[in-house]
Symmetry: C2
Subunit: 418 residues, 2 copies
């Protein structure tokens, strides 16, 4: 044990690997345009396969194109301890989202090879297909199918905007693999990722020990008042849908604050029907996104908001409709794996905090199958899904070191009585 | 005098005239689509000319197509006392906006003919070209040029969306007249119109004695915050442009109320930049329309609002820009003509109130040249610029009777020392 406690990744090699693969789909502004199953995605997959094989890993591809690279362990009867993330990007994505977690996994394998270390359980590195969801819906498609949420036939038949089905796209780049989706079992899963939020940077904290994924509720709303002339309708006689909506926006904000620091609520879209400079808006449609790590908080935000909407509608003689169109329950990660991440972080001496993932990740799907946790590192200004996305070499190295130590702990732990 | 005090218009004839001309550009939904200088506008102009000539009026057309129909008076050295409005409509306009005032003027002439009454000063009935502004900007184009705000050459060169210039359109329907614009002088102007607002109907009042036109200030605003991830950005760290805008909307409403009952302020358009359901809005553009009969109130609303914007921007770390793009000063009508309208109304026994016009009218332009006032009658639900626009025969008749008595008073009044 003492020898592996001192083991570190090669941060410079990890960084140069990130920069090397950034050429597949590189944009002039320094980002990456590497939509899932595109030619560029095919190129980075080929590169990844070759690099894994060069590191002695055995690479297989499943029927949804997900790449699995196995590093043998001393006890091949044990389920592999897995890590990884994704190599696809948004159309104007950055160099770190998904890529850090995947290539840090590769760096872990290389570092173990360099040190000549064999783990008890095998290790597995995964590149999940279509985490981003930009070309094909839904996002996190392959890990969801892996976890049994969708059938492979369903996912194969999904089409992009050009009408190309997932199965065709897989064939076109040579990644319609023969391994049945979900057949490969894993013992645990650890995903390293940039935070995609501002908290770690703001608190000058290096590592986020991620305890789970937030629950999400999506709503569509409509406020209906009465469209009338801006010049001839006295203020007290108005039924202004926009001003009613303004009260709703501030109520949403106030309620989310009251359930802080965890709850967040966002109106991302709002559109006036038949807008005109000199007409009082009679109708406005809006969207609402509410998130919290606890299902009870999602419930409370919704019921408090509905009470506010009734009050606003009554006071302003408006009709306000709010429809919940989707809800994803919170995903708690495994206490044991979270504890292993935290212990590894402490062992390495990094500043850290426990937190919840605000965004969705493949790990949130895998958590339904196997003990799972995530490791977050800071990204500049919390910016992600943007060519300006940035993380420091030091933080990337720190995250990879935590990943390395966590995998060693999990893979070398005594087998628990089953 | 006593004979003319008992004179009334023929309300049934006025109503059937309104319904007769409603066939020019009639829409299936019961409205009128009669854009200025269209073929349909040409048809109603021809009908109007013929009807005026049949009533013994002398019809001339100026270089912007405005029709002037003169009824001779006993003293032709006196300037004519004028009335009228417009016969063009919005693309989905109603049967009363502008039309009532023009055809009520015709009915007044017919009623005087029937009674064999000759006035001291001549009377003049006007059909102004392009009051609506739907096909050619600006609205109230011909009366503004008549008042000297634009040159005829400027207006002639304005083009519609199809590229057709005003001069071409006038020639196409035979209404490029030979009378120089503004040459014809008038002694007074009285315009009867539907209110286009809800006040008279709500108060069950028959006649609005209009003291002036409101001042109008138009603004464009931009709120800039920071676009970020709806799931990963904690509430206290957000710089949400939409929530800042919501505070602005409520501040606008509060300030207008505080300057009530006259002031009105409306945000008619608001557009989020790059809206997405799970992205905190980083930018929102909006328009603002502020109106009040007093210039000082427009000033006060603007300065109070700017102070609020500064406070909101500071508190929320947003940038808020507000640019005044247009301002039209209030137009006070002539106390003498307003008094004549009020006296005529009282003499007829109609319920009435003094009020200010919320919308713009040709009378607001003419007020710069000659003593002017307006007469309002109720319209159903305050709806206008809409095929559902409606007024009762009784109210139309009442408005025409007030117009008749007002014109008689003004045209028969002793000449004031000049």
């Amino acid at each position: 044990m003492s020898t592996t406690h001192n083991l570190r990744v090669d941060g410079a090699r990890l960084w140069s690997t990130i920069m090397e693969t950034a050429r597949f789909g590189a944009t002039p502004a320094g980002g990456i345009n590497r939509l899932t199953l595109s030619q560029e995605d095919g190129q980075v997959r080929d590169w990844f396969r070759d690099a894994c094989e060069a590191a002695g890993l055995e690479v297989r591809v499943d029927a949804l194109g997900t790449q699995f690279a196995l590093r043998r362990g001393r006890d091949m009867t044990r389920l592999p301890v897995a890590c990884g993330s994704h190599l696809d990007t948004q159309p104007t994505g950055g160099k770190f989202d998904g890529i850090l977690g995947t290539l840090a996994g590769l760096e872990v394998m290389r570092a173990l090879n360099d040190a000549g270390i064999e783990t008890e359980a095998p290790l597995l590195l995964v590149n999940w297909t279509n985490e981003e969801g930009s070309r094909y819906a839904p996002a996190m498609m392959a890990s969801a199918a892996y976890a049994g949420e969708f059938t492979v036939e369903d996912i194969h038949s999904r089409r992009d905007a050009a009408g190309i089905a997932v199965k065709q796209a897989l064939e076109a780049i040579g990644y319609l693999g023969d391994e049945p989706v979900g057949e490969r079992r894993i013992g645990a899963f650890v995903e390293l990722h940039i935070e995609q939020g501002p908290i770690l940077e703001a608190e000058a904290t290096t590592i986020g020990v991620v305890e789970g994924g937030q629950g999400i509720a999506w709503f569509d709303g409509v406020v209906t008042g009465f469209e009338s002339h801006a010049g001839t309708t006295p203020m007290p006689r108005r039924r202004d849908a926009l001003n009613g909506f303004a009260e709703i926006a501030l109520a949403v904000e106030r309620i989310a604050h009251a359930h802080g620091p965890t709850a967040v609520a966002t109106i991302g879209e709002a559109v006036i029907g038949a807008p005109s400079r000199n007409v009082i808006p009679g109708r406005i449609r809006f969207t609402l996104d509410v998130r919290d790590p606890k299902a009870e908080t999602l419930d409370a935000v919704e019921s408090e908001l509905r009470a506010e909407l009734d009050a606003i509608a009554g006071r302003r003689k408006l009709t306000i409709e709010l429809t919940r169109i989707w809800r994803k329950e919170p995903v708690p990660f495994d206490a044991g794996v979270v504890g292993a991440v935290e212990a590894a972080t402490r062992g390495l001496g990094f500043s850290h905090r426990r937190m919840v993932s605000g965004a969705g990740h493949d790990a949130c799907n895998i958590a339904a199958l196997a003990p799972t946790a995530m490791i977050f590192v800071p990204c500049r200004d919390g910016i992600s899904h943007n060519e300006a996305e940035s993380a420091t070499q030091g933080d990337c190295t720190a995250g990879a070191d935590v990943l390395l130590q966590t995998l060693l702990t999990l893979a070398n732990a005594p087998v628990r009585a089953g």
